[in-house]
Point group: C2
Chain length 483, copies 2
């Protein structure tokens, strides 16, 4: 190791540092390199080999050009010259493009990464490396800018990223984001290695090619160091993005009071305490929750939403954008889709004053499309791990009478699970769980005598939970008919 | 007011909302508009007048073109047609450019804004408005991108901003950042008003002109809606910037352990608890503190600094960039300029074991360029407000012997101000105030008998403070010779 370190050139030192500190990779564990045979991946392959990393070169033949087979052969030869194991893959790009209605570029990319990650798993590689350079990064930033992206896009490619679609554990690593193409070409020349010419064309879209050959040269006439400037901007924005994302997610988790199909509810008082910039970011987050594609909502819409959330109009509701509606009710700020269930239907309701005995097995239908399913069942072994308030098991030994569904009584209390047998007033329970006032009177409670056993969808009472020994219990599930 | 509201067009409604919600302006208080007479400012002037705002048009004649006098006359005429008061200013741009070595554009801008803010103060206007449009915003983003800016630059112009160089109270407001140039031209046409042609040329630099006439048209061939996309990106980044800035400043204030000429010290353990993105942002902030021009420090330098701060090298120090040096000592991470005082000289020191009696008035010189000045003085009335640990007053009635300067003794305690007469071990005091271990033994203490009276530069002891009635006291000041 010492002898390797002594011979480090500035370029290999840079890559070594990036592999360790930006990509968080371990020199003692194998990596896989996506190897086109072009100057960038050839340089990275050579440096990885020089540094003594256990690297395998994986080449994917897209069969999109007649020369692609020859390119693959040459790539294999280059890997052999560097003393690196070589794996060849290929796939039918045109068929995938047709089947999934993808562009040729998208299909090529999809097949290539599928092959790379499958190979990485086979080899127990810690990561798939690609040789994306600072030039690619500058182009990516411009590509996103041209499309009108925000911070998430402008930060460009990340040095280490997990993409669950490809693999939940094995990350994609890009150790060359600080290296420019001229340096990789220089390295190949110095080593007397001829890279495969322009083999990555399959991955380069029309717009990216125009950015590389037209936009960047124009920008260089404004600033000769534009590629360096753009790469630096992307990486600085990457840090900013991490900060913003963490802060907004923390606020989101703190203020989210409820969400389901087509609606989210946020703590209104909490929203009002936010500074304007935060409030807007959080409202953007709320819109993205309902409409994942609508990240780049107009500023004016967000400003209007912020103003509304601070001071709702007299009508109490307002249309935001793209059909989304906002309103405030009882300290909750709601954002909802046109088709979202009306407010009372988001909670189960029954006829006020009604009482129904549960004679299981049964499907007990409530007033507004909700129903409770009850049957005796063996308790599954994973039950102790689940915490789904819509689906509970009761210990039948602890029930001293029939189960009845009824609404709450004045002054009624509940022994909440996890509160050590202490009781809470039902009226406080409604407030704590942010149940709107107008649905409380008709909210169904599953009771046994005077004791509340389960508030369907919200909380089980302590005395009736199953213990480790209970083999069979009463299984209750709260369901809702689709709208 | 109701009748005005009824006749609002989409454009005037947009401006009304922006004035209130983005610029935070009050319709009942006067505003000043920087009025070139071009389509943008003519449209804004007309809309402000229509909306019933008390607006004054202020035109600055740069005398840079022979037609400028005629333009000023036409601008005045347009204001009169709109029924708006008009104020004309002018200045010698060439002379200022020569005197302050500014470009003609910079000098023109400086004189114009100086005139606008002086006029705003005279008129008690709540803000200086300018008619920068979404087109200007898109150009500004690109201008910053080309120069290699980070988030602070890419967010472009702000709808409301205080620029202390111009005025500490009166903000600059830009209500037209959501409106495009074609809309302002359309408004002028519809009203039959001919704007002054291209009068803002004086403010348009060569690069900005190229961006407008060359880069944006090229980008429109990539995305016909590019100007809209860029304006939206700028405003989204504005919100992100506010979040990042607030978070980083909060961390900065929490972790800053000391700073003076040429150095900053941060809580090292606190730094290590930060996530990588945060840590980098904070180190960037530290670099900016010492080198305000060095905001766009290379990512690699920051990554290296972050790695060093997590695990300092064996030598304990490392060069960061541009001469800045970092090292860790006793739970503090230091970043310093080459010329910064060596660590021990940042605190007063004396010969270990030495003892000096204070016979006032006196200037008592310590070991390393620090000295204590002592004299009897009338206590100034504002004293009770000041909390400067380098300058204190003692109540002479409470001293039962001569004042002596000496170093600390083993097990010595101090009765700290504000701790209700309780004592603290001097050894704990050093730790709490983050005094490096190696300067503690020679740290001068001002004592009276066995009691510590003042730890110079750090804390006064409770028993010796002056009360509300004390008329005259002993005035002690800690000074340091310039390096």
């Amino acid at each position: 190791m010492t002898s390797v370190k002594k011979t480090l050139t500035p370029l290999s030192r840079k890559i070594f540092t990036a592999l360790r500190e930006n990509c968080l990779l371990d020199p003692a564990v194998p990596v896989l390199l996506g190897f086109s045979g072009g100057a960038d991946s050839l340089c990275l392959l050579g440096l990885l080999a020089e540094l003594g990393w256990q690297v395998t070169a994986a080449h994917f033949d897209h069969h999109l050009r007649p020369e692609s087979g020859g390119d693959a052969e040459r790539a294999g030869e280059l890997a052999r010259r560097l003393g690196v194991p070589f794996i060849l893959g290929s796939g039918d790009v045109a068929r995938l493009a047709h089947a999934e209605r993808l562009s040729i570029e998208e299909a090529a990319r999809k097949l290539r990464y599928r092959f790379l990650f499958a190979t990485a798993r086979q080899l127990s590689a810690q990561a798939v490396c690609t040789a994306h350079t600072a030039d690619d990064q500058a182009e990516t930033l411009l590509l996103h800018l041209v499309r009108g992206a925000g911070l998430a896009g402008l930060r460009g490619m990340q040095p280490r990223i997990c993409i669950p679609d490809w693999d939940a554990q094995v990350p994609l690593a890009r150790p060359m984001l600080g290296v420019f193409r001229e340096d990789t070409r220089g390295w190949c020349n110095a080593k007397g290695l001829s890279p495969v010419e322009d083999p990555s064309n399959a991955d380069r879209t029309y717009t990216r090619n125009r950015i590389r050959h037209e936009l960047i040269p124009l920008l260089e006439s404004y600033n000769p160091q534009i590629r360096q400037a753009l790469a630096r901007t992307a990486s600085a924005l990457g840090g900013d993005y991490a900060v913003v994302k963490a802060v907004i997610e923390a606020d989101w988790n703190r203020l989210l009071a409820g969400a389901s199909q087509g609606w989210v509810a946020l703590d209104w008082l909490g929203l009002q305490a936010l500074e304007e910039g935060w409030l807007r970011a959080l409202l953007r987050r709320a819109v993205a929750q309902l409409r994942p594609g609508l990240e780049d909502i107009d500023l004016e819409d967000i400003v209007r939403a912020a103003a509304f959330s601070r001071q709702p109009s007299a009508s109490g509701q307002s249309n935001l954008t793209a059909g989304l509606r906002m309103f405030v009710e009882e300290s909750l700020f709601y954002l909802e889709e046109p088709g979202a269930a009306p407010l009372p239907d988001r909670w189960p309701q029954m006829e006020p004053g009604a009482e129904m005995v549960i004679a299981f097995p049964v499907e007990l239908h409530l007033a507004n499309g909700w129903w409770i399913q009850a049957e005796r069942q063996k308790i599954p072994p994973w039950l102790r791990l689940s915490a789904n308030e819509n689906e509970i098991w009761l210990d039948t030994d602890k029930l001293n009478g029939p189960l009845v569904v009824r609404t709450g009584r004045p002054g009624e209390r509940i022994r909440l699970l996890g509160m050590g047998g202490k009781t809470q007033k039902l009226s406080d329970f409604w407030i704590n769980l942010r149940v709107p006032r107008r649905v409380r009177a008709a909210f169904p409670l599953v009771c046994c005598g005077d004791e509340v056993v389960w508030v369907p969808g919200l909380r089980l009472a302590e005395p009736f939970k199953v213990s480790g020994e209970t083999q069979e219990g009463l299984h209750l599930v709260l369901n809702k008919n689709p709208a």
